[in-house]
């Protein structure tokens, strides 16, 4: 899973978000390192919807413009959980090995 996809799914993990909300959440989650642009975001959202990992929660009209809220599907939650567990396991092993090698302070 690409990092942008992982971060988008993570942004939706604790509730539905609209497009702009996802961009700000992703920036916050990544500590400002990943700044999604609209083209990238909506290409990813379209793919995630096609894969049934996210779905539209609701739509609103704000200042005459459509605002669509997205949420994780049960399948999306499962995929995100599995990916998070995989990354966590890898990170744990990496940190353990670094500690054994004395490469980082404990």
């Amino acid at each position: 899973m690409q990092e942008a996809t992982f971060l988008i799914l993570t942004a939706l993990a604790d509730g539905s978000q609209h497009g702009y909300g996802i961009i700000t959440e992703v920036a916050q989650i990544s500590g400002g390192r990943v700044r999604l642009r609209a083209g990238t975001l909506y290409t990813a959202l379209d793919r995630l919807r096609a894969d049934k990992l996210i779905e539209v929660d609701r739509e609103e009209i704000v200042e005459g413009r459509l605002r669509r809220y997205y949420r994780l599907t049960p399948s999306g939650t499962t995929v995100l959980s599995a990916e998070a567990a995989r990354l966590h396991a890898n990170a744990t092993v990496a940190l353990k090995r670094l500690r054994l090698a004395g490469g980082m302070a404990t």
């Binding site: 702009y20 642009r37 609209a38 990238t40 975001l41 379209d46 704000v62 413009r65 459509l66």
Partner: protein, 215 residues
């Protein structure tokens, strides 16, 4: 930011690169996000924004509407391999033209210059048609990847055409005088046969709908 009609027009021009169905459903929403993320007093679309939108449009246009099943993905890869085999056949034909004449003369010492001219004309036609063959392979891969039902029928027809073409070559004795060309032609037939069988499997069947569904 302060609203700029000029900026919105610029965004809409770039969004015109996206597929119509995607635009119809998402354009207003994307415009809203683009305007919300634009810099204060921005009047023109920046180069990075343009690149991002064009890249997104290319991805939307090139990728299939849904994730094809493994069998269809395998068939798509084989069709791309078919295109590569066509290029290989073209190169083989060009490289072995000199050997061809000596091979023909070894088999038939009475082979005339007029007959050799006929062979050269046929070779030239085949070489000029090679880019078209590559295009057909890639076009079939693209259309099958998008779940077009007619595309797998076209692939079946393509397979039959390649088999007939190879049998015709066999009847003309190509296997004897230009074994490399013939071998590559047979490889193309095998690729087409395998790809055709993959797109007609039960798992592939559901993917091919009369009208591919978009969300």
């Amino acid at each position: 930011m302060s609203y700029s009609p000029e900026l919105e027009r610029g965004y809409r021009r770039l969004l015109a690169c996206y597929p119509r169905s995607f635009r119809r459903e998402n354009a207003d929403e994307i415009i809203g996000v683009l305007l919300a993320t634009a810099a204060e007093d921005q009047r023109r679309v920046g180069p990075a924004e343009s690149a991002d939108l064009i890249r997104g449009a290319l991805r939307m246009r090139l990728r299939p509407p849904g994730r094809p099943p493994g069998a269809v993905l395998g068939a798509m890869r084989l069709m791309c391999a078919g295109a590569v085999a066509s290029v290989a056949l073209l190169i083989t034909m060009v490289v072995t033209t000199g050997d061809l004449k000596s091979a023909i003369l070894a088999l038939d010492p009475a082979f005339t210059a007029a007959q050799w001219h006929g062979v050269l004309v046929e070779l030239a036609v085949r070489e000029w048609c090679a880019p078209l063959v590559v295009f057909v392979w890639l076009w079939l891969a693209w259309a099958n990847g998008r779940g077009r039902n007619w595309a797998r029928l076209a692939l079946g027809a393509w397979f039959i055409f390649l088999v007939l073409n190879t049998l015709s070559s066999l009847a003309q004795g190509v296997a004897l005088v230009a074994p490399a060309d013939f071998a590559v032609g047979v490889v193309e037939c095998l690729i087409a046969a395998t790809a055709t069988s993959l797109v007609f499997t039960r798992r592939s069947w559901l993917y091919y709908q009369p009208e591919p569904v978009r969300y």
